[in-house]
Symmetry: D2
């Protein structure tokens, strides 16, 4: 709950979703529109689409939801036998419109459009190296740095794909990229495989997306996920794989399963929905509690609550109604009434919790303020006991790979024990998913995981 988009102040935010499509039948901008719409949960602040028609690139991007930024006329104008698109949680302040992607550039070999999900580490040296060669940057984003690397590499490379391969070989961090040249569509995943990226087909069309749900949404069939380090080049209707940057099975961000991804997506072979049900089951096994009902905090806690119910035998119920209409411009209550803010978007169902001992499943605790309010709603609605169960371990460290986890000073688990948090939150008991169980929630996954925010141990060196 605390991680939901359009959240009350201080929430976490995944930064991006990417989509790309090659379709000789055209209308690629429209397909990308629907693809981005399916990925809207990965970023609600800005979005954009670039398209190729007869090797000419055009684009449109702005601040807002996909449905706000694009109209029918714009999609028709963009057309496209290829297109790439992006949704993002933009940085605040001036220039946010400029940070919207796709990043479109002109360079020695023509034009490129780049969309990027992830975050690099240790780029200051690389950025300075480029700058000392005279590079100028319009933004501080890693995406522009990647584009620059590709443009540089293109000079001594025989093809765009070779440039992508060379440019990304030495980058450290998370990047699921789609690059569009006038003739080629190139998808690329970092060698650690932090962020998902999959590939699908629909007739002669070939498409890439952050999550499989986007491919299904446009009527396509998911073919496979890209391997960590893999590059797939689409040219003249043929897809070809370049695997020279591949190094191993990777380290998928485990928080994609717990919170970010849509439950109908499959990531590294693991259904996100099932991973959440598993998290609930594991929590139920981890500690017993005498209770009358199990409920989840919408949306990501719902699946876990069902898993908990199945494993524990305690009946599952719906404990909350969530207001779906919060938008970018929603006016949040001012400071004085912050404590009651949660009731504007969440309402407890009295008939389900009154006079009952309740197990409440949520996906995470960041600062602890939201869960105190939610538990307050249940008490008001007559719950006798509230036993909070969290489908993740305590956050103890920042993420360097694209999740906007606040610094340690604002992470309650850096300052308090679970027992203290339980008391602060007003719960009768509190249990986090153990690290041991965390590693069991995605048994079908064909990859390893990054658990850095829970362990402070990262797959790549994050020191600058």
């Amino acid at each position: 709950m605390e991680l939901s988009p359009f959240e009350l102040p201080g929430a976490l935010h995944e930064e991006c979703g990417v989509f790309g499509i090659y379709d000789p039948a055209g209308n690629c901008a429209q397909s990308t529109y629907y693809g981005l719409y399916a990925l809207q949960h990965r970023g609600q602040e800005a979005c954009g689409i670039a398209a190729i028609n007869d090797r000419e690139q055009s684009f449109h991007k702005d601040v807002g939801l996909v449905s706000e930024v694009f109209d029918r006329e714009t999609l028709q104008r963009l057309g496209g036998t290829m297109a790439v698109g992006h949704v993002r949680y933009a940085t605040t302040g001036a220039g946010e419109r400029e940070n919207a992607q796709p990043l479109t550039i002109k360079y020695v070999k023509g034009t490129l459009a780049v969309v990027h999900n992830g975050n690099l580490v240790g780029v200051e040296d690389l950025r300075r190296e480029f700058e000392y060669r005279g590079a100028i940057f319009h933004t501080t984003s890693d995406s522009e740095l990647i584009a620059y690397s590709i443009a540089q590499a293109r000079i001594w490379s025989s093809s765009v794909e070779e440039a992508v391969q060379r440019a990304t070989r030495d980058l450290r961090g998370a990047f699921s990229l789609i690059v569009m040249s006038p003739q080629k569509l190139i998808a690329c995943r970092d060698p650690w495989g932090f962020r998902p990226l999959c590939m699908g087909r629909k007739g002669k069309a070939i498409m890439f997306a952050s999550e499989s749900c986007a491919i299904v949404a446009v009527g396509g069939t998911v073919e496979r996920e890209l391997d960590p380090g893999e590059i797939v080049v689409v040219h003249d209707g043929q897809a070809r794989s370049i695997r020279t940057n591949c190094r191993g099975s990777g380290h998928m961000c485990i928080f994609e399963y717990i919170y970010f991804a849509r439950p109908d997506s499959v990531i590294c072979g693991q259904s996100v929905h099932e991973a959440r049900v598993n998290a609930g089951r594991l929590l139920a096994r981890q500690s017993k509690v005498a209770a009358d009902v199990v409920i989840g905090v919408p949306d990501s806690g719902l699946d876990a609550a069902r898993g908990y119910a199945q494993e524990s035998g305690i009946p599952y119920s719906v404990g909350f109604v969530k207001n779906r209409y919060v938008g970018r411009t929603f006016i949040t209550p001012d400071q004085s009434s912050r404590e009651q803010a949660v009731r504007i978007k969440l309402s407890a169902l009295r008939s389900e919790v009154e006079g009952k001992r309740v197990v409440m499943i949520d996906d995470s605790i960041v600062r602890g303020t939201t869960c105190r309010q939610i538990i307050g709603l249940l008490r008001e609605a007559g719950a006798l006991e509230v036993h909070m169960r969290v489908t993740a371990p305590p956050f103890i460290a920042p993420c360097y790979f694209g999740t906007d986890i606040p610094d340690k000073s604002r992470l309650i688990s850096c300052r308090h024990t679970p027992e203290e948090i339980c008391e602060l939150a007003g719960a009768d008991s509190l249990e986090f998913l153990s690290l041991e169980n965390l590693r069991k929630l995605a048994p079908d996954a064909t990859c390893g995981f990054c658990e850095g925010c829970f362990t402070e141990e990262y797959p790549v060196d994050v020191r600058e």
Copy 2:
């Protein structure tokens, strides 16, 4: 599903939600903002707020969601020791902005602001009578007719509330009204009680809302629902009831329970959430089926699915993921791809339905096209059988009281038997809730029901 807001072409739409508040502490516009936000599901096309400061009325209204139409500055400007607000599904074409409410008028006794949920019948005579006395109307809405009636009645009445009582005494049809004069806030429900209206308090503040969820959202306590025909006048901080138009226990629109209202609302003493669970239970008893899993079509089918599962013993599961980001300006697929349109907003969870016999609960069938597509999604995801269960009887007649049910020519149940619909929809079996069971789904309700759309028998004569 077919009735959801932001629905694919041809869906039903409830037309309005109303909210009003008296609070000597001020900031009534802001409270109304949060109240309307909680009622946003009752109308997404236009909204507005009128407020009183020192007996002076000001207002703001426009096309759009509550979060789009209002900003902090506007709310501060409106302020208010009293305010009324409205959300509506506006009529199409020119003038939609003009049709937004509150309706604000100047008349012999000063100003009035009126918000209205419902629809009148047999008003043509009344309208002509007024017109022959020289009245001019700016819109075709019933709301303006009601405002006119009140203004007329005020001339020979000793108070605004008396004018409201006299003006509404002879009106036929559905009206849940809130009227705001410079000094009084007056709530009024039609004698048949078609649409809900309740009253709450928070400290010295007194408020009215279409649904109880709005009172809870602003931190208030629900005091009671207005009786059919009741008028409540708030003046100088005191609430007084006028019951001269009360005639009986009323005929609440039963579709409020099945689809319109938010599950956390209580209407006529009946929890909407529980009514939906009951509908599922009743369907389970009504006919047996051998199946592996019960799922609901979001959102209103989910509660019913849990009831069905509890009663039948077949396990409950989540079968669909619904995209939450569709907005007013979303570009729907064009004619050629309409068949696949549903997949843009709904996605089947393969892991839950693959290889299974599925019972799927939905709230209604209007034209039958949407349910065919939804069943198609389940088949694609590997469902072996799909048994559709509908928490309402077949629609056979239009609604004259505020629900936008299409005319008979577009109601599939007017042209086809359930068996034919089952085949057209591609289901393995289809069962509608029987009329007998319909009457059992709200056992706690203290009122009678209007079931006109299912029986073509209406509580008031609908012939012009």
Copy 3:
């Protein structure tokens, strides 16, 4: 200058321009767009167009310039074999959008659209009479009162035009109206003829406009001006005149010649341009001055400066450059720099005034602050002497007929003698046009004048 649109705070504003057209060839909304554009100088805050297609009325109106409010799609949608349009200087604050015209109403005989230029007096009794019969008003505008009168009168009248004739017979004040019913276009001028209204043709099309320049702009030929009190009805392509309300030659607002109207318009047979040249000539005769150059304050002072130069023999020159880009949303300098505000929109031409004795012609002095700044610009640019000449007498009284002249407390001529004003403004000499000469500036005019703002004597009793 002080009266210019987009003026610095406190300026005068004419309130409206009207246009109406019947054209069996259609596209009347587009013609009205161009007609209103030619009348934009009469009101820049809001505008609107209503059109009839197959007896159905549609409309569009909003806050903004004609070029901002309408796009091609809207004009095409409006179409129209008849249309009426309006530009206005809207009232401030909430509801300004609601005050935009055309006023569109539904009444016993169908629909009406009304556009109105002018202002009534003594309407409180009429308003109360209507209200006591039950009328409700949505605005405080006279226009709505007129519409109501017509709708009332229509009940016992045999035609719309008869209703217009009866309804306007007893109204006092200024009204140049165009009324559009589903089948008829009716233009009407008050019996005093305060505001202009003329009629033109283009092929089979018949049109009406506040000023002749609008008829010329759409390619039409000016046929004639309506007489005071005259009503012209266009039906089935034929124009018919009703003269029962005609009483005399009328009292045209003399300020139309001095400031409001466009110089290429002809009003009551008098070229506005020539009237301004005459005003300059009369000022030159009124008093002599030894000077090197005559300049005008743009725009209305330019013509007068040429007349002054011709009469006096002192060379004419261009003394100022005016910035043309000020728009509705222009940010005026804040209080501290108000004194220098005028230089943002006006710049003196050093080469024309340096070392010279300058005669500067302006159209009026309201508060005197602007002319002090303008004279300051000339001093900065090296003018040795500045002799101010004003093409109107001092303002000593408010206008009740549609010109937004401030109350007496803010009129400098109510508190100071011309000599004092001259000193306050920093001029070397100051001369107002005498009342005697005022009456000579429009020798071709076939009407009398209203000079109330200069004499406090009005053609109709303005006491309530």
Copy 4:
């Protein structure tokens, strides 16, 4: 007339205006706002401002007029102890928002904001050289190329100003630049001096602007114009000149006098207003004609008409009224009515031309369509003869230095003799300003001129 902003299709457009200010008192964004507003005639499609506060750069830019793009809140947020701003006529199609300036970049030494008026030639080699070193460009604009050159040069330069000097040394073409680093404001003019750039002061503030009128508008005093090739660096409140790129007295675009610049500006010591008066005088001497009145086509023809009248003794008059309200979004008449399009923005004053032999002064003839329409207006208004005089020679070649003159195929003077053009335009006689007289119109100018569009001889080699 044919060159006026907001012109009918096919007109010429000057591309840019620049403004920059250092003011330790702050509020530089607001000063820039007023400065840009005074330069609005140099570009109406897009604008922007970048400001420095505590060495941090922020900016705002968008499509629209200055008054549309900025509001008070944005200006306050920008604040600034330094600021630069830009108005431009943006390129069409996608990305026009991206092409708005200031161009803001991040590079090895921090940030830069660049505003640019002009156009380079022979840049393809330079662009390729940069690209082969790996540069990427976001736009095709020369401005980005200049920024890149500065960023490159900064690596081996000891200061920003040295980098500007080195980077611009070898550039060919027109550039009046203002560059803002976190601590310095640097103005720079190309060695040919194609475009104007001047410097002013107001108290401790130092400012630069394309035209002197902008400095006057913000209350400053014009100090001097930059010499061709000169660089002025403002640092710590001191201005220092770098003259190593200076080569001679330069070649000012002569069309700045004829059309682009505001008449109250002084360029190279020559009053623009006087240059236009001179052009009229020269035309009068060039050929005699028997006529009754001399009129100018607004706006740039007005001054010339007065000069013509003074020289010829034929009386000057105002022949046209121009509609001032055309905006960016004005809907121009469609193809069928193009012929009459001009009457929407221009109206002839019958009283001044009827029955007269008219000399009409305009600034240029591009395609000849507009002047035919204007002459048609005079004929309709009763002019007996129309003798057209043009304050420039025939256009026979394109401009490579920032004026959007169409290619030869659309220049009427490339295909027709003056006699033919006279006949096509429907004039009784036609005379262009001779090349010889062209060179006399700016006698006070301290520079040479570029007359390339009239002679096809350019100060720099324009062949690629």
